[in-house]
């Protein structure tokens, strides 16, 4: 059974991606018999090219997606270059995990509350010292350059890249390399950039591409923070999919293919730019300049980090305050009254979506864990690592834009009469949960000392018992972290819930997004806060449970 698990896993989650892409590609060329498209034609593409605002939408998609990835990567690199090996960086790592756990939508809503012209930041400086009695008439969110969207993406993607870099550092023996460079007289920042970065970057290349793909195709964040007339491409395509005029679906399918193409081209160009930069930087890398203490770079890195933490926590705080605010007019910096009444009022409306979110999230995370742990155990028993290409396969659902294949998945589900059911919903979430669970669990699993298992086997225990009583228990901490991460990923899914749920399932994410159109900050804040808190609770449990379970095992404590 175990030996077939890798194949089953790949089938379960690559099958839908492939079928979904086909199911999107065919309508894009006019073929979808159910809607009367019998012939292959280029008509959908002509309509796409003529769609109002399409050029602007593509431009906005590219600028916000590429710029946010560049900024997140730059901040990540500078944080490590400035802080490698310091206590401060360890604290940064701990603080990044909760930021990673908060769903994109919750961050987006909170950020909008914070930086809008009538938002909290402006309220703090109005009417004194700014002199504003009414909010300034500038678009600080939904601006037509997409800057607010870019900022929101940076807030969410930097923690992911920082945590992935931490993982990668262990694999390249960075400490030794760095010590060597330092002993040759290189400054801290220069040493990291010249010696560690060239080794680490290939390790975080896939995560960077995942960030790029995500930023280019994000929907929920773009609806809240992005421009609206026109929006970026992914929300525009989603709008076409929801149009009652069925002919629009062909145009939407073509748009979804264009989205896919944009991501593919962007990744390709990025790859080429990496190579070019590698060549161009060679004289600098080997030029021998030692650099100084790197004061400026350090100051910039810590300022960037401070801004990141400030905006992220300010966003969450403003969600919390709006959810209990009574009257709160501009330019007051604080609500006139606070009350918990709204939580009581909204409890019935909140509980349904919260349960759906919990059930789907837990189910998807547990299934993903079983598949991933099974695959890893199979690998360790057969003592064979999968080929490097397999990792790219695992990443595939993260590299393909969701809107690019979920329409095809929906067609498939309708055809199989599975749409709008729990199975379809959980399965679709699984596509995105599984890669993250794998990322979180693979390294700890592979680096567990094999001698524990060998000793137990030598003492006559069957493999099954060794697995459950020794390995899984020793790996309890990473397993729970992987579960919590999987759960957090599921909670945040918007487009998959929309397409697979057939409108019948509302999760906290879909609910918060549809309420955000209404503009009642109090209720939106309440839903978005709940949305943010659930994954944080998951991570809290993942940290607390092992601490309690191993309270009598000194060697199993953190840091041991």
């Amino acid at each position: 059974m175990l030996r077939f698990l890798p194949a089953i896993t790949l089938l379960v989650f690559l099958g839908p991606v492939a079928a979904g892409l086909a199911g999107t590609l065919l309508p894009a060329f006019g073929y979808l018999p159910a809607l009367g498209g019998e012939e292959v034609s280029l008509a959908p593409w002509r309509r796409l090219a003529a769609a109002p605002g399409i050029g602007t939408a593509v431009r906005l998609t590219l600028t916000s997606g590429v710029l946010s990835t560049l900024l997140a990567l730059a901040l990540t690199i500078f944080v490590f270059a400035a802080g490698h090996g310091t206590q401060a960086l360890t604290r940064v790592k701990r603080a990044m995990t909760p930021l990673l756990a908060v769903p994109h939508l919750a961050t987006a809503v909170g950020l909008a509350f914070l930086i809008a012209p009538s938002g909290w930041l402006v309220r703090l400086i109005a009417p004194w010292p700014s002199g504003w009695q009414t909010p300034p008439d500038v678009a600080l969110v939904q601006d037509h350059l997409g800057l607010a969207l870019t900022l929101g993406l940076v807030l969410k993607e930097t923690p992911f890249l920082v945590l992935m870099t931490f993982g990668a550092l262990g694999q390249v023996r960075a400490d030794d390399q760095l010590r060597m460079a330092r002993s040759l007289g290189y400054g801290l920042v220069q040493a990291w950039l010249k010696v560690v970065l060239p080794l680490v970057y290939p390790q975080i290349r896939l995560p960077v591409y995942a960030v790029l793909a995500y930023s280019l195709s994000v929907v929920d964040m773009a609806i809240v923070l992005g421009p609206t007339t026109p929006p970026t491409l992914a929300p525009l395509v989603l709008r076409w999919f929801n149009d009652p005029d069925l002919a629009m679906r062909f145009q939407a399918a073509a748009g979804a293919c264009l989205q896919f193409g944009l991501v593919a081209v962007a990744i390709g160009v990025w790859r080429a730019a990496e190579a070019a930069l590698g060549c161009l930087a060679r004289p600098w890398l080997s030029g021998g300049a030692r650099g100084g203490a790197g004061t400026v770079a350090r100051a910039a890195a810590w300022a960037g980090l401070a801004l990141l933490f400030g905006l992220s926590s300010g966003s969450l705080l403003s969600l919390a305050i709006w959810s209990v605010a009574g009257r709160w007019r501009f330019p007051n910096a604080w609500p006139e009254q606070l009350s918990l009444e709204r939580w009581a009022d909204q409890a019935p409306a909140l509980s349904g979506p919260a349960w759906t979110t919990l059930v789907v999230g837990i189910a998807a995370a547990v299934i993903a864990l079983v598949l991933v742990a099974g695959c890893l155990e199979n690998e360790s028993r057969r003592q064979r690592r999968p080929a490097p290409g397999a990792l790219t396969l695992i990443y595939l659902p993260l590299l393909v834009p969701q809107i690019g294949f979920l329409f095809g998945v929906q067609v498939l589900l309708v055809w199989a009469d599975l749409d709008g059911g729990w199975l379809a919903l959980i399965w679709t979430h699984l596509l995105f949960v599984l890669p993250y669970v794998f990322l979180a669990l693979a390294d700890p699993y592979r680096s567990l000392d094999p001698r524990y298992a060998r000793s137990a086997l030598a003492l006559g225990r069957p493999p099954w018992v060794v697995w459950t009583r020794i390995k899984l228990v020793m790996l309890l901490r990473p397993i729970l972290i992987a579960l919590a991460l999987g759960f957090a990923v599921s909670v945040a899914q918007y487009v998959p819930t929309l397409f697979a749920g057939g409108g019948r399932f509302s999760t906290l994410t879909t609910e918060a997004l549809s309420l955000s159109a209404g503009g009642n900050r109090r209720v939106v804040g309440l839903f978005a806060l709940t949305l943010a808190v659930l994954p944080l609770l998951g991570f809290g449990l993942a940290l607390a449970l092992p601490a309690w379970r191993f309270r009598h095992r000194r060697a199993m404590r953190v840091g041991a």
Partner: protein, 396 residues
């Protein structure tokens, strides 16, 4: 003969005891069903009212009501259309839709609706079809018993009396006002229905003969008829909030801007909405409503059942309860929602009538005699064409 008898016996066995009244049969069939009601979900007061309906349905009829919250009613129409295209003629995922206007017209034209069913509903006899003709004619399209009237709406504008004492009362005056106060006026981006309805008001006031709007747009010269609308929109654009580079997403979002002091006006398709928002602490106490000198558009909103709905009996029971005096009086309470009733007060029992008459009006709500004249809705095809043209001009 033998076979007919057998079929009959089997039919009775399967259906169980035959109910005396067809409506009782519907009630019996509805018990235990889960009704998926697709309704716009952008206003938590309305959501709260729908949740109350759900509670009543569970207690009275054993029906589980699920509110599928939409950001645009077109999403539900799209879903039904897609199901029809995929050949799913029964067991559809939408049981009940809150709609009117172009969405109804589209569904009716596409044979996507179940019915006629409305006259079978016991509470339909209370509906005031004589003095409220829009309960039978939806945006010039006859309802033909395919949608059950749910509420009466009329478009109103909000202003904060503490900032703007005397609001402009015509579309032309509004343009002058905006020129004098740049950045203080906004309308929601069509196809949001508040934004679209605002455009209709501009059009109705600027064209020579509004009667042409009662005919389908295809039969008229669209450019000639709507030219003055686009000219007006282009003229006001630089004086709009954010210079017309971005637009609020919905009516409630515009209320928030009014509360924040970012704009000086808002608008709603419900004369009592301002009072409700003031009561909920979402607008300042100094906000009042007004209508244009030429009047504003009034219409009726409805619920309809898709042709392939999986739970038609349950959906009919819900639609019937929505028209009951009890549900209607609760809806009209400005502390709940403040949506106008479709019923004829004279037709109902004196006790029910007294409950309607005892309702408070709300501090910002105009009296019925101030809400005149009521303008009719144009044919829905105008809206579709205007929304598309607006997107072409303002969203690229």
């Amino acid at each position: 003969m033998m076979r007919a008898l057998l079929t009959m016996v089997l039919g009775v066995l399967i259906a169980g005891p035959v109910a005396a009244e067809p409506w009782d049969a519907t009630l019996a069939e509805a018990r235990g069903q889960t009704v998926y009601w697709n309704a716009w979900g952008g206003d938590e007061q309305i959501n709260g009212y729908i949740a109350w309906i759900g509670m009543q349905m569970r207690q009275r009829h054993g029906i589980e009501l699920v509110h599928v919250k939409l950001t645009d009613t077109a999403e539900a129409v799209a879903r039904v259309v897609a199901e029809k295209a995929a050949g799913r003629n029964e067991g559809g995922s939408v049981d009940l839709i809150w709609l009117n206007g172009e969405n109804f017209a589209a569904m009716k034209a596409g044979d996507l609706l179940f019915g006629p069913f409305v006259e079978q509903l016991p509470n339909f006899r209370y509906v005031d079809t004589r003095d409220k003709p829009t309960t039978l004619v939806d945006f010039t399209v006859p309802t033909d018993g395919l949608e059950a009237p749910w509420g009466m709406a009329q478009f109103v504008f909000f202003h904060d009396t503490a900032v703007v004492a005397e609001p402009p009362r015509s579309i032309r005056a509004l343009l002058d006002w905006a020129r004098a106060h740049p950045g203080r006026f906004a309308y929601p981006a069509p196809p949001d229905f508040i934004g679209s309805t605002f455009l209709k008001h501009v059009l109705v006031e600027l064209i020579a003969d509004p009667a042409i709007l009662q005919q389908p747009a295809e039969s008229a010269d669209f450019e000639a008829v709507t030219g003055s609308l686009w000219q007006w929109l282009e003229e006001i654009r630089p004086y709009l909030w954010r210079k017309g580079e971005t637009f609020p997403v919905s009516g409630p979002a515009l209320h928030q801007l009014l509360d924040d002091g970012e704009v000086d006006f808002s608008m709603a398709f419900n004369p009592a909405e301002a009072s409700a928002a003031i009561g909920a602490g979402r607008l300042p106490e100094s906000v009042r409503t007004f209508i244009l000198d030429a009047g504003t558009i009034g219409n009726t909103h409805f619920v309809a059942i898709p042709f392939n709905a999986a739970h038609k009996a349950g959906a009919m029971v819900v639609a019937d309860f929505l028209m009951s005096p009890e549900a209607q009086v609760h809806k009209q309470d400005p502390r709940v929602w403040g949506d106008g009733t479709v019923l004829d007060l004279d037709a109902m029992a004196p006790a029910d009538r007294a409950r309607f008459e005892a309702l408070p009006r709300g501090i910002a709500t105009l009296a019925p005699e101030q809400l005149v004249p009521v303008r009719p809705e144009p044919h829905p095809s105008w809206m579709v064409a205007i929304e598309a043209e607006w997107l072409r001009r303002f969203s690229s």
